[in-house]
Symmetry: D4
Subunit: 227 residues, 8 copies
């Protein structure tokens, strides 16, 4: 092969926040070999590992390579991996970050948000399958909603759930549209536009499927400054 | 003026249904003189009058011309006018058509739907200002929802209300997106896409701001055939 | 594999209506194993099975697993499977649901609508290959059109067929745009926009390719309440 | 006013065909003074005058200036004016150009096409208000359709009429989408996309509202070469 | 006039937050009479007044009506008016809300944000005309950036400023795209898409021109709960 | 496999013209088995065969099945196959159909047009690789352009070639945008919009990549009626 | 009026280049009073004046205020005004900037480019009305094209002219799409996309109607550094 | 196989400039065999070889075929190959072409630009990973920026980097949007629109991912004419 031997990838500095946040491996578009090489370097240095958007091939490779390292965790779908740096200090926060999910199909994005939020130092809680076509399930969990310091709402299709949540609580609400849907609502644009035009005041929105970004935004709000 | 004197407008046949439905004056793009001339002809024949999308100028002119005719009604915003044909038979229906509106700004479209539905022979009820950011108002009216034969839900912005209503009842639900909103949700497309992608099964949708069309669709469902 | 053993999928509650309607397996995005596991659980409980959007792999797996169960039916294209719950009561309806299809390529969506409508308890009839470029075939079937309680019209390309049907009958017409087409009409948007802007009054529209949704909407209209 | 006195406008050469076709004044974006000055120059030279897209102000001005010239004609809406060059030779053609219009609101575009086609030397016939929601009117005129050498079909909303016409005849069919419609079909894009994706083979399409262009295309087909 | 005398407008409840936040008059689409009537009612009750998106006519009328009331303030452009309820308690906050503006043309949106944020109880600071084509001005104000509890960044055109700000600080950053621009960047979509796709992690976005929404979101973050 | 044995495909009637035109197999979306079965039936009946949009698999299968039939022809790229019905009458035409192609990458669409035009009975000529960035090649072929009865111009990217050709000749010009291009001009929309907005009067346009449709349109113009 | 007396506008620093370029008054969105006040300040300081996108009202006001100042020039349409700073040094350049315009309607944008390029210190030449539907006019001016140091090509509709020019010369070509056109090519997007997808290598593009930006880009190329 | 033996591909003349520039193999859409055959012919003639957009298969094939030819170079990613014609004269230029890249993911486009610019005869320098979320890295390289004769800025996501660079220097800046990003910024449109709407004056833009085009544009500026 004529390809020169160059450093094929850099650790994705520009996704990392500046103060006490871990470096992040954004898996999309990286080969399994690249993901493994970066992860081994991070773990070798004793740093916190957070890897998102892992392809099935990448997670197999990562599992073979660092799967037995102490404290490594995977999200339910295996798309996100996390391991806290040994001895990393506990961050003080305003309270729990609550991740609310509309439908089963939105869960992979919610899991990316959840593990990312934990990697950034937040306590995380989840509320699942509380879409607006069956309101009673959401209303039955009002206490959990009111206890959260920040709420991330993950929804595809018509993207209506953040409006309902935003109408029930006064805490910050970050809406994550997902690319779930088909036909005229394919790709997440219906959800994105709906969330931007919400009738509930003070919602904010991140890019489609950007669970990581929502977790980073929640951390900007929730983490107390390092003393 | 060099314009030849032609018959400037036809009564809008292709918006009229075929069986027992009134002819309709679709006001958009017609001059006040045109609207008045058609309305006078309809009333002179003793037919049912329904005029929609009237401009302020057209409704002034119409008011001066046929305003004192017995039984003429206007919607709250004066954009729609209706007068039943004297002696027109009462239609048998499955029950009331309920028109549910999310916000104040959606009311003109809801009024077009309401008066059109009455003109087609339906009993009409309304539920207003029950947007999803304040769910308790909708939930407090669950009885009215359950009593309806057909529900028309009018909403702009994120267009979430039909999903919630569709999750609460089993009757037919017709969603009308409105062009209310600004920025990324301007023009009604966010609401339209949201309604098409709803997570509640069996919703149907009409064009943006098409209160008349929703009423016509409700009538196709609700009117029992003429004996 | 590092994936934790979680309940990988839930039965898609939010696609199910609330009163007497079956639970539905929405196959898109589910693995064959997931589809089979849910189907076996439903059949084990003696409930009605309806599975839509099955991939070729999923239908092979489903066929091996529950293919010999009594009363299991497949649509022509094998994308939809249905089995009535043994002893499930017959629903009273207003009449037949007629599914009208413009072209051969629209048939998979029409089949999803047909089997779904039957699963919900409707008698179903079909009229195929009656696109607007050959009107005589549609006009020759006028009697079938007039006998229907609800008509579902499935069409891609320019989406003109619902307008023509809507001009011929007074019953409810539900238009389903399909993603058939290429170039400027790819993806179903030309058909969707055409149906929303139809010159025939009182048409309603569901999402692109949403045969299931059209059947659910027809059932909201056609099923008489359980006594 | 600081504006220098320059030649404010040129006669719109690049809308004129090369062989025996008149120069055309495209009125959109021109002031009444500009339109009048060009028209007077054309008539002074004894050339054929064709002026399209005239604003109300421009047609008043034009009427005052050249309104009494022998043989000047206006379309019904006064947006197009035409006067044959005195002594201009009659062109040999393949037959009549038939202009078919879906709805009343599409007539201004149809009139632009009609007068333009006559200005180019074609015999012109018209068929109006034959939209697809009332098929019987179109079918009743099948003879006129079959006699045409070229058919121009003008339609807005869902743009379905050209497909139906194209299925009935073998002559060339030129489809003109119009900007008639509102909401999701506003601006003519639904009609344009529908016509491009027609299921009838061999239709061709021109730009939205481009009645002039359709007439020019019809003339390229219909005019026999000058001997 | 045939319009019935109805209550023409409701105070826009669904833009108000639930705990201690003022009611808001959203001026867009309201007549001057409507704005004045609502404002007088609010002031008569001794409540906090916040009126946004005032037309020139509405602000003239409002100025004549309540202009001399003690403590009434206007934003620089007169589009937003604010008066604290006499004796309204001071809210405890995390710190100042900083509003950063890219260009002069973005100022009206920034002013809506500024006065809204003050009305909600936040101390507000501003940094103006620090667009990315002249970085030195932004970098010279780094101290002000680092002192803010929440930063709202208002930018049109390419919408690049929030990315730069987000890279400099760890506090929450709320990006507001504005409709400033022309041609391919008209209407604010270029700025909106740019902000959603920012390479700086943890930015959140509100609708185009939604200064009010950004202030409401900042308040959800910044206000400490009422004791 | 649970799929019922149904007639899997119909011969695509609605792409066939009504008078003397062959039936057409539109290969896109059909399996090789389906294409072969239809082709064998057509050849068995002694009819004219025209098959377009053949996948590599379909053309292999078709070649094995009917490849040795007398008179079968393939386009250069093997995507289109044609065999005249033995003894089919020669059609009288106005003259040659000329197919002009901008770039090498547009050739597959041009070939579909060429073989289709021949199948419909037209003499066909071609002019290749005469894009507007090298005008001299086009200008050197002016004689061929002037001799054509109908010109089909196939171009992707900016779609400028039809405007140039339309400015050189008076014959009918049918523009075919192709999906050649990438980035902002991907998918053929830049070419389509450019052709619709051409400054040359009287161009008409067909759908993106629709070489077949352009040939059908040319045939509507060029074929003289059967005596 | 309740508006506070603030400095209503800043001189638009971020449209000015850094080295020896004049400050620019971007007139769009500014009141006549604002334009005049800034212009008087600039002229009072003895600086170079360049004012673009002037409304009719603004140019009347500007004419009354500074119209008699020595050396003030207006573009043909009065939308742009320019006055060199007295004693401003002549800039050395690579040669003439040639501005090529497709149609009459594109001239206002070309004039903005021409006067801006002169204000920046470039010798400017123009070639007008050389659209691609009449190639001979462009080809007759080949010498002027070959002599230019930089060519700015201004075109609306299909935007084909830059491709043709780019194929004739080796100098830098800057393409300016204009918002000329209607229907599917309205707003300049067809021209913009066409220019971005040009088959001529090495063209660059600026925003729709951005004559000023093209002149600034040409100046970056053409001006030799100040000694 | 029934495909006739034709010359399967032409060397892509219309991507080559006219004076002293090499012919270019545009790899996208060509088979490995086609790429190899053209490359061998070019090298056999002793001409300069430049091949872009090579698929992994094409570069393997090309490496096997001409990989050992003296002086052949590959870009880091193997998508572009280049070999100067032996004895080809050195071109005189204005100075170095600097290629600035925002993020790691934009590098393949930057490499296409770099090798193309070298193939056209320019000295090339690069500045990598200097995205706007970490400004200090860009500011630390100000000297390199100021020394460049032409700057090509390659950026995806929000496309903000060219605005920042354009504000720092007076040399020509060519912006290349890349298709890097996902969700609402997928496909490069956010970056493209942002670059077109930049607040820095005089930026020009090429198509998404068009590194080759940017290099060709830079060469039009930078190469001095052959003596």
């Amino acid at each position: 092969m004529p390809i020169e031997d160059v450093e094929f990838a850099r650790i994705d500095h520009h996704r990392a926040l500046r103060q006490g946040f871990p470096e992040v491996i954004f898996g999309q578009g990286k080969t399994p070999e690249q993901v493994v090489a970066i992860a081994e370097r991070i773990i070798g240095r004793g740093d916190t590992l957070l890897a998102t958007r892992l392809s099935p091939e990448a997670r197999e490779a990562l599992s073979r390579s660092v799967g037995s390292v102490d404290g490594l965790e995977w999200c339910t779908f295996g798309r996100t991996a996390y391991r806290a740096a040994p001895g990393s200090p506990v961050r003080d926060t305003r309270g729990p970050v609550l991740i609310v999910t509309a439908g089963t199909a939105d869960l992979p994005v919610a899991e990316e948000a959840a593990l990312s939020a934990r990697a950034f130092g937040n306590p995380v809680e989840q509320l699942r399958d509380v879409g607006v076509a069956g309101l009673h399930r959401l209303l039955a969990s009002r206490d959990v909603l009111l206890d959260a310091a920040v709420v991330i709402v993950v929804a595809g299709m018509e993207g209506a759930l953040p409006s309902v949540v935003g109408g029930l609580i006064a805490a910050p609400v970050i809406a994550v549209p997902t690319s779930i849907g088909y036909g005229a609502s394919a790709g997440g644009f219906a959800a994105l536009l709906g969330m931007l035009g919400s009738c509930a005041p003070g919602l904010t929105v991140v890019n489609i499927d950007n669970g990581f970004g929502a977790a980073a935004a929640a951390s900007r709000i929730n983490l107390l400054p390092l003393a």
